[in-house]
Structure formats: C-alpha cells, structure tokens
C-alpha cells in the first residue's frame, strides 16, 4: 500500500484512516498488522498554523502582481498571535508481526517551531506609535525552534480485546532556539513624545543562530554533522492503548512525545539592555550654538537597544511538545466508519495547552478507495476537511486535509497541513 494525506495541525484524520500504517505514530497500540512485512518510505507530515486572519483576505491583485495588504490583517489580530509549523519526516519504517507481537524500527526528522507576536507589535509597525501616545505597547515577539533527529523502536502486543503499544525514541537535537523571558515595552510620553523602551527580552540558542552586533543574526547551517547522532541527546516515549469493545466499536488512548532533549552544544544567550529613554537631541551643551545632530542620536538608540551576549548555561533541557488523547472508532457497516478523538496538545514554549477535537467519517467509494470528511476543533478554530485513501494492491496512498478554508476564503482559514508518503506490504 502507499499513502498520501493532508491534514491540519497535528493532523488527526490520517491516523484514523482504514489500515493506515502511520497510525502507530499517534497511538502505538493501533497497529492493525496482518502481513509479515510493512515498509514505509518518505512519510512526511507537516502542519502550519496561523492564528491571525485569513491571508487570502489581505491579498490583492494588480495585473500580474499580487500585493499583501497588512492593514486587512491587523483588525483580526488577537492580543497574542502565532505562526507555527510542525514537521515529521519519517524516512523509513520497517515493521513486522510475530504472533501477537508487532515490532518496528523507524527514523524521523522532527521539527516543532512557533513564532508568537503580539498585536501591539503589528499595530506599532502598521499604525506607528502616533495613535498610542500615552499607552504602553508590549512588542516582544516570542519564538521556539526545535529540530531533531529521531530513531525509534515500536513494539505492541495484542491481548485480544486490548492492544498495548510503545514507541521508544532516541532523540538527537540539531538546533534549538527560544525566547526565554522578558519583554520589550514601548511607551510614548504625551508631553513631547519622549519614547521609553524597556528591553528585558532574553533569547537562547543552541546550534541555531548567533547574534552579532548591529542586529545581525547569523543562522547556523544545519550541516550533516549537526544532524549526526551523538549530540544533544534525549529520550522520549509514545504510549498507546486500544480496547476493542465489540466488532464495531473500539476505544483508545495515547500519550505522544513524552520526553526531552538536553542541548549542550554551542549554547548562547542574549539579552536586551534594559530601559532606554530617547528624548531627542540633547541641547544642554550648546542650545543655540551647535545645532542638532539627529544622526548621532539615532545611532544612540540603535546601540542602546541592541542585544548583548550574556552568561549562558552549559546545557538546556527542552521538553518536546506532547499530545494526549482518547478516541473511538465505530464501524457502521462495510462502507461507513466514524472516528472520534479528543486530545490536548501541550506546547512547552510558554507552557500552553490546546484542546483538540476530531470527528471523522470514512466512506468506501470503491473497493480500493475511501473518502473522508472530518470536522476538527483546534486552537479555538473550527475546521472542516476532506480526505482520500487509495489502496491499489499492496500500496496505499492517502490525501487528507483538516481544513477546507485554506482555499475557500474565510476568516478562519488559519491552518493547513500536509501528509504524504508511501508504504507497501508483503
């Protein structure tokens, strides 16, 4: 079989597809193997999340050129907004079953990344500080980036009505960066627009970027040696349980990405320099003799607001973003299946949790073709998606989305995802 699927944030739909090989990555107990050998090649699973308004609403066309009207997006912003991207590229999976045991080995590249930006920042850029005289704006962006290499062993046992599964993963961090603490506040005094900037922002990096003076960021290239094994190590677990209530109904639960990576390579920490007040050119020393040198003062601002390298720890433990959930599958008849998943996604970045709900229907169009329609609720968003599963012979192809609003303009079109890969059985 071969599969290709598109789905939403930490997409759940493809994990519910009939006979989906990749199901063990969500719930290691759900390996419905009935062949001797399963091989998966190039399964990629990526999702994007944008909490702001629909970008399509802000795009306008003039002739052959497209323009982005940021002003259209500003009104839809929340106090804090996110751009997130999760990627898992499972390069190889080999699995088999022996009696009631299921075994597998796999390798994946993983990425969990997010940029958070406050509405104040966008409004400051778009509207300027003029409308906010007398107000304090909090403009510090946040960011999290964790890319790692993962080698895992999958094992599951079928007790009959109950299946238990475990994925044991050895992780090797490639690069990591995160805004740890602090804020950047901007206050424009109403008296004569004196600007007070307080930069207590603090960021940390390991083999991700180095910060030079004058706002120069050098992103370190992820050379092969950074992806190589043996650096920035850590362990993680995926646990799963499946309970076959009867022929039509099964219940399951899962815990995914329980663990961490300890980064100890090239750790650098940078921090802002605290409060700086810009009140224009200083005239005490020659009010009427020297004129005003604006350039000197602008240079002063830039210098004062610059980041500086500060004491960094020798190592940093970074928790993976974990997912917990329970679900149910109901086989109405041979042509109709329904699935339900309730889960919570926990981001170690700023310690936030998001509830997710998935409700799906799988309809068998042909003997080798299934269609899927699904509803999901994620990150306070309601989404409707479609999916397609093809099973020509030993191959499986899947195509899934959790979100139709990406292509149908809607203010909630804020996330999309892609799943693809090939697998076959012998």
């Amino acid at each position: 079989m071969a599969s290709s699927a598109t789905f939403g944030q930490i997409g759940l739909s493809p994990f519910t597809a009939p006979n989906a090989l990749q199901g063990f990555r969500l719930n290691p107990a759900r390996t419905n193997f009935d062949k001797k050998l399963y091989v998966g090649l190039g399964h990629f699973n990526t999702d994007f999340y944008n909490s702001a308004g629909d970008v399509t609403n802000a795009v306008s066309r003039e002739g052959d050129k497209l323009f982005l009207d940021i002003g259209e997006l500003v009104g839809d912003l929340e106090e804090q907004n996110s751009l997130a991207n999760n990627v898992e590229f499972m390069s190889l999976y080999v699995g088999t079953s022996v009696n009631r045991w299921r075994f597998g080995l796999y390798h994946s590249f993983r990425l969990q990344a997010e940029v958070r930006y406050p509405r104040d920042l966008v409004e400051l850029i778009w509207n300027g500080n003029g409308p906010y005289v007398g107000e304090e704006l909090s403009i510090a962006p946040g960011g999290f980036y964790n890319a790692w290499n993962q080698i895992g062993a999958h094992i599951a046992y079928d007790f009959g009505k109950i299946q238990l599964g475990l994925n044991l993963n050895r992780n090797f961090g490639a690069s990591y960066g995160e805004t740890e603490s602090g804020d950047i506040s901007v206050y424009t005094d109403p008296d004569f627009y004196e600007i007070t900037v307080n930069n207590t922002h603090q960021v940390i990096s390991s083999s991700f970027f180095t910060y030079e003076e004058d706002y120069t960021v050098d992103v370190e290239e992820n050379a092969w040696r950074q992806w190589a094994f043996g650096r920035n190590g850590g362990w993680s677990l995926d646990l799963g349980l499946n309970f076959q209530v009867n022929e039509k109904l099964s219940l399951h639960g899962f815990l995914r990405d329980l663990g961490s990576i300890t980064y100890d390579e090239n750790i650098r920490r940078y921090g802002g320099q605290g409060e700086f007040i810009y009140d224009g050119a200083q005239l005490e020393d020659g009010l009427l003799d020297q004129g005003i040198d604006y350039d000197v003062n602008l240079d002063t601002i830039i210098t004062e607001l610059d980041y500086q390298e500060i004491q960094a720890p020798s190592e940093k433990e970074v928790s993976l973003h974990a997912t917990y959930g329970i679900g149910a599958d109901y086989l109405l008849n041979e042509k109709n299946r329904f699935s339900l998943i309730l889960s919570q996604y926990h981001s170690s970045f700023q310690d936030r949790s998001f509830e997710m709900l998935h409700l799906g229907w799988h309809g068998r169009l042909l003997k080798w073709m299934w269609l899927n329609a699904n509803y999901s609720y994620k990150f306070d968003r309601h989404n409707i998606g479609l999916g397609l599963t093809l099973n020509p012979g030993p191959f499986q192809f899947m195509l899934y989305t959790d979100n139709l609003f990406v292509v149908f303009p809607n203010e909630q079109g804020q996330q999309t995802a892609l799943f693809g890969g090939m697998s076959f059985t012998l």
Binding site: T56, F67, L68, N127, G130, E194, G280, G291, Y294
Partner: protein, 500 residues
C-alpha cells in the same frame, strides 16, 4: 450515495489543486501604509546653577550668598607694577675730591628712601697709582650693607703708575639711607700700612644702572594711571523692544595691592553707553572723591579691596533702566593721597596693583516684553527621500520654575537669509512664567500644526531666527531668579508618513 461520493471526490481534488500560489506576492500594498509616528526631536534643561562660570572670562553667571543668580560682566584685568612707576637710576658719577665723598642719590620720584635692596647695577672706580711702590685700594661705603656688614673691600695690589680699574656689581647689596645721599670712601694703602687718599685729579667713579628689588621710605603724593576699559554688557545687546530693569545692579571694583603705602583709587570716568546712543554718567561721591585701596604691612603680601557702586551710593538703578550696552571707566591711583610723611612705606620689584571692574546684575527685577533675538543653524531630520511627511504637528512642552515667561517665534531663513516660514504658527508659542504660589514649576503645552507643504519648506531652511520676548511674572512686580531655577523643555513631532 455513489453520486454523493463522486462529488466529494471532485471537491477533494479541487481542494488540493486550486490553491493560489502566494509565492508570487511581490510586496505588501504600500498604498494604504501610512503609519503615524510621534518622536521627540530635541530636549534640554536650562538650570542657572549649571552654567555658572561656563560662559567666558568676560561674562558669566554666579550665585550670590542669597542664592540669587547674578550676571557678571568683567573688564580686562589691569596691572600696574613697580617697574612702571619706579625707574632705574642710570648713572651717578662722582669725582673723588677727598678720601670720602658724599654724593646725592637722584631719585626720579618724590621718595624719601630709607632702605633699599639693589637688584642690579654696578659701581666703577678709575684711577692710577701715583706712588713709587705698590698699593692696595680700599673701598668703603657705609650706606651699603653686604650680609649685614658695611661695604668694605680692598683691591690690588696695583704697581706704581698702574691704572686702577675697579668694577663691582651691586646686585643683592642693601642700601641704608638717612637722606638722599651716600658716602663713597676710596683709600690707598701703602705697603707699610700707611693710608692715604688717591689724587683727586685722576680718580673718578660712577654708579650705573641701579635697580631695586625692594625699597622702603616715604612715597610722596603721585598720580599713577591705572586702567581704562570698556565692559560690554551683553544682556542688553540683543534688546529690540520692551523694558528690563534690575533692581540692584552693582559695579564692583576689585583691587589687589602689594604696594606697602597708602593708595587711593581715583575714578576719572564711569559712564554707560546706552542702546539709544546716549552716554549716561554714573554719579557717586566715590566717583568724585575716589576711595582708599587697602595696602599690606609686609612685603610680598596682597591686600584685597572690593569696592561696590550700588544703588545706595550711586544712581545705578536709574542707569540700568536705560539699557546700557557698555560701561566705560578710567581709573587712576594716587600714592599717599594725604601726604602723610609719617608713613614709611615699601615696595618691591614685584609689587603691583591688579584691578578688574565688574558689572554685576542680580537677576532681581522685572521685564516686560523684553525682546531678544538670535540666529542659529537649523536642520530638520532628513527623510532621505525614502518617505514623505504628511500634515502633522509639533508638540512643545515646558516645565518652568523661572519667574519669567516668554513668547517665542522662530523664523526660518533660506540660504539667502530670506524668511520662508515661521516655525511656531502665526503667533508663536507662549511659555508661562512660574508663579511660586502655584507650586514647584509651571507646565506649558503647545501644539503647532503644520502642513506637508510647510514641512517641505522647512527642509530647505538653513537657519532659524529666534525672537523671544520675556515678561516677568505679575509684571510690574519685582521677581528674583535663583540659582536652582530651571526650565526643562522638549519638542516632538507627530505626523503620518507616506510613500514608504
């Protein structure tokens, strides 16, 4: 059901292949991007105490013992030294008429010299040995002292018929005179000890180029020119209109004297030149009669004399109300003005009288529409052409604890010094003077709107001609400016930017 599923299939395919390619987005739409920025342009704090003494040696500010700020305008420092008033004695010739000869000391000044220390000069004796045997020549000058002893020295031997030439320096030798003459004894000493005079027809002598490092005696009445100067009073030089009045102006004569005898300052002229071109004479008994200068009791010491012409001893208040531009004075010193011969004075070659005249204007008074002008370079922040500034406003803010308010306007000049616009609207901005009854300071806000066209004009300005009119609080009440009075001000700009 099959139809429904087929439709769903096509919808699914549409989903995956109908997406717009946003990689073609060229740029964000700049047409609606018009942020409004509010930034400070300049700020400053003017505190009188911070600029005390920071202006120049001729004009500065100080805080007096009452905490009042005082404008001080100083004239040049003049020095009158002893070398200027007591010249060297170039030549005192004499002929040895006798063994001892009394010669007068021709002092050029009316001095009764009691004691002096010579700093230079020489004494010469020319003669010939008239004896048939060698002789020694003894010089004895009882009024001269060397190390406390009378001057007594022998020279020679001189062979028969040998020319006798004796040349002795006088530096460091003390001179003690009972009257203005001294005795010189020239004696020949023969080998057997016989003492005799040298023949008068070929024995001559001279004292040359006598200078003194110290003298004591009576210095008779003498008028010595001291100083003549004009002090510019810069506070009024930019005055165009209005009125300013200082309640307690003072002209101070500062004297340092190391001459050890009575001296009196003689003010020959004390006049003010006004902005109207008139000359106003300052009247005071001390101008007419002068005033005494303190003198030291010991050589090397200075005595300070500070004499002040105030409203109590002169007509100065009236004088300053006429807005002077400068003070002219001509001063002399009178030595021993009372001709008291009982006073034995002294002076050395380093004795001097140092004189400096100050005009002190304590900032206690009143002003009404006192107008001052100045022109300074001007430059608006450059936009580099990367954006345009739309209509906006200037915001000015003042915190003032000075009991003087002002109305100020800035006229922008182009490179040809032609007015192209006014900076603060039509009427300028008014900063309220501080009334102590209202709190620690008084704040003033001012918003000056401008148009895009105006700002474009400002970019071409080279200078700003500032016109400020000062009015004291509750005029005509008298106000006092103290050292800790200050004005803090800031100027900002708020405007939309376009074409970014």
């Amino acid at each position: 059901m099959r139809i429904l599923l087929t439709v769903a299939l096509f919808v699914t395919l549409f989903v995956f292949f109908a997406c717009e390619d946003y990689r073609d987005i060229n740029d964000f739409d700049r047409s609606d991007y018009r942020p409004e920025f509010a930034v400070p342009l300049a700020t400053g704090e003017f505190e009188f105490s911070e600029i005390i003494g920071q202006t120049s040696s001729e004009s500065y500010l100080e805080v007096n013992e009452d905490g009042q700020v005082v404008f001080v305008f100083s004239g040049d420092v003049a020095r009158q030294g002893s070398l200027d008033i007591f010249n060297e004695i170039q030549l005192i010739p004499f002929v040895a008429q006798d063994s001892c000869n009394v010669i007068p000391i021709p002092l050029t000044n009316e001095i009764l010299l009691d004691y002096a220390v010579l700093s230079g000069g020489s004494m010469s004796i020319l003669s010939r040995n008239p004896y048939a045997e060698p002789i020694m020549v003894e010089l004895y000058l009882p009024e001269l002292r060397v190390d406390g002893e009378e001057y007594l020295r022998e020279f020679g031997p001189f062979a028969p018929d040998e020319s006798i030439t004796i040349d002795q320096p006088l530096e460091g030798i003390e001179l003690i005179l009972g009257k203005e003459e001294m005795t010189i004894c020239v004696t020949a000493i023969l080998p057997d000890g016989t003492r005799d005079r040298l023949p008068s027809d070929n024995t001559f002598g001279a004292l040359r180029n006598m200078t003194f490092s110290y003298i004591e005696g009576y210095w008779d009445y003498e008028v010595i020119p001291m100083d003549e100067d004009t002090i510019e009073i810069e506070v009024f030089e930019t005055l165009r209109r209005g009125d300013m009045f200082f309640e307690e102006p003072v002209v101070t004569v500062n004297l340092e004297n190391s001459f050890g005898f009575p001296v009196r300052a003689d003010i020959r002229a004390l006049e003010m030149y006004t902005i109207t071109g008139d000359t106003f004479e300052i009247e005071s008994p001390f101008v007419e009669n002068g005033f005494d200068i303190e003198y030291p009791q010991n050589n090397g010491e200075f005595e300070n004399t500070i004499f002040q012409f105030t409203k109590d001893n002169s007509n100065l208040p009236t004088a300053t109300s006429i807005k002077p531009l400068a003070l002219y004075y001509d001063m002399y010193a009178i030595a021993n003005p009372d001709r008291d011969t009982s006073i034995t004075g002294f002076m050395s070659d380093s004795s001097e009288i140092i004189v400096r005249v100050d005009v002190r204007l304590p900032l206690k008074g009143r002003a009404s529409e006192f107008e001052a002008r100045d022109t300074v370079d001007f430059q608006v922040p450059e936009t580099d052409g990367s954006y345009d500034i739309e209509d906006g406003e200037l915001k000015l803010y003042f915190e003032n604890s000075i009991p003087v308010g002002l109305t100020v306007q800035g006229y922008l000049w182009d490179e040809n010094n032609q007015v192209i616009d006014s900076l603060f609207g039509q009427d300028g901005i008014t900063v309220v003077g501080h009334d102590a009854a209202t709190g620690a300071f008084t704040t003033t806000d001012a918003i000056v709107p401008f148009t895009q066209e105006q700002f474009d004009l400002w970019e071409s300005a080279e200078k700003v001609h500032i016109v400020a009119r000062f009015t004291s609080v509750n005029y005509p009440d008298i106000v006092t400016i103290r050292g800790d009075d200050k004005m803090r001000f800031g100027m900002g700009i708020k405007a939309e930017l376009s074409n970014l």
